[in-house]
Symmetry: C2
Subunit: 210 residues, 2 copies
DNA sequence: TATTTTACTTTACACCGTTAAGTAAATTAT
DNA sequence: ATAATTTACTTAACGGTGTAAAGTAAAATA
């Protein structure tokens, strides 16, 4: 069955090649400016060949968005060594923002663009990548609560709120809405704002005076 | 000059009509699915006529995004009567989220979509609408600081952080990333999270214990 | 050797934003 | 009153898009 194996392998290789050049292109010129025909040209196959490997354009970008999550998990993985869950929570926030700033197109695809979500909704599947990444945050928040942090707060809402705080920073940055900020503060704006968010978290878990 | 006036008026009317049906269409079927040709068909003019009134598609959506800001300001205006700046700040956050949830397509256009920003960058103009809306927030935050709230924090970074916190909630909601949340919490998620953000603000301005 | 399957291409459809050239009516100038 | 020009629009066209249907040559199987 070695011939069939080779064929299988070659199919897999072409599929990978499609994703590889799709990634190249969408990092080069942004995801919205990457067309099936561009990809086809670069892999030196006809455009319709791509449809033998992916259902549609959204399906390609769904696959790339999965790659993005693998990359994001690499940013997170080292943080599993941080013992204190609250310190880990803060580190996750910082890592998330670093990921967004260092991989803008991926970030856009994963958390802003509609394309990969269309691929899911098409055959109404669950957003597993999102669930898993959120799960990591959720777990850390739960640990925090178990250790007495954030007394009386709903862990899931708190997790979502943590996420949305850093997402807000990244989304405004990635989609070019930060021009309202003065030049002095524009430098490292995301990190400055992230520091403030983290200070808020710091104050959240302290018992309220009075 | 009454004939020239009438002509002027009629031109203005067609311009308004274009924006009117563009708005209809983009609220009906979303902004990305609204084409120049769709608009042309509905106003019963040829597609190219639209280019006599707007430079390009982005220019149309820039104009609509301006309308969105007028609408947002209506949500904000009543809040100018709130005496206490800190209460006003919290009310602004709530109003912002209400606006986003009640006018999703507008929100998308104003704070997520690239289209209106392209129109600005084309003739490198400033984002006046954004500046003005942010200015209102910034002013309120400054008042807060003047009254002793948020001691020692940078007002601009704090304003941006307030904005990004609520934007994060709205952007995740509008772009369909909330499916990671359990059904129980999915109901009114944005408002629940907003309440938590506001609680964070409440705790921010208290002097740190110890 | 004949048949079927595989992997791909060609062609085509129905859209898209946008530009260039053409046109009929209204206005202005002579 | 007639000719020239401007106005407001349309038709035609260019070069792009995603995607489906039909065709094809080679390989695998019968």
């Amino acid at each position: 069955m070695t011939i069939a194996n080779r064929k299988e392998r070659q199919k897999e290789e072409l599929r990978s090649k499609i994703l590889e050049v799709a990634k190249e292109l969408f990092i080069e010129r942004g995801f919205e400016e990457t067309s099936i025909r561009n990809i086809a040209e670069r892999i030196e196959y006809s455009p319709t060949t791509i449809y033998l490997y992916f259902k549609d354009k959204d399906d390609i970008f769904y696959a790339l968005h999965q790659e993005g999550f693998i990359l994001l998990n690499q940013y997170f993985r080292v943080l599993q060594n941080v013992e204190d869950p609250f310190e880990r929570l803060k580190a996750i926030n910082r890592a998330y923002i670093d990921f967004a700033l260092e991989n803008r197109e991926f970030y856009d695809l994963m958390f802003i663009s509609r394309s990969p979500m269309n691929a899911l909704n098409r055959d109404d599947e669950k957003w597993e990548e999102g669930n898993k990444a959120f799960g990591a945050l959720f777990g850390t928040v739960n640990e925090c609560i178990q250790k007495g942090y954030f007394k009386g707060m709903d862990p899931e809402i708190l997790s979502f709120t943590c996420w949305s705080m850093v997402h807000g920073i990244c989304a405004l940055e990635v989609r070019g809405r930060c021009s309202v900020i003065s030049e002095a503060n524009l430098e490292n704006l995301s990190h400055k704002s992230a520091a403030m968010v983290i200070e808020m978290l710091d104050r959240m878990h302290l018992d309220r005076p009075q």
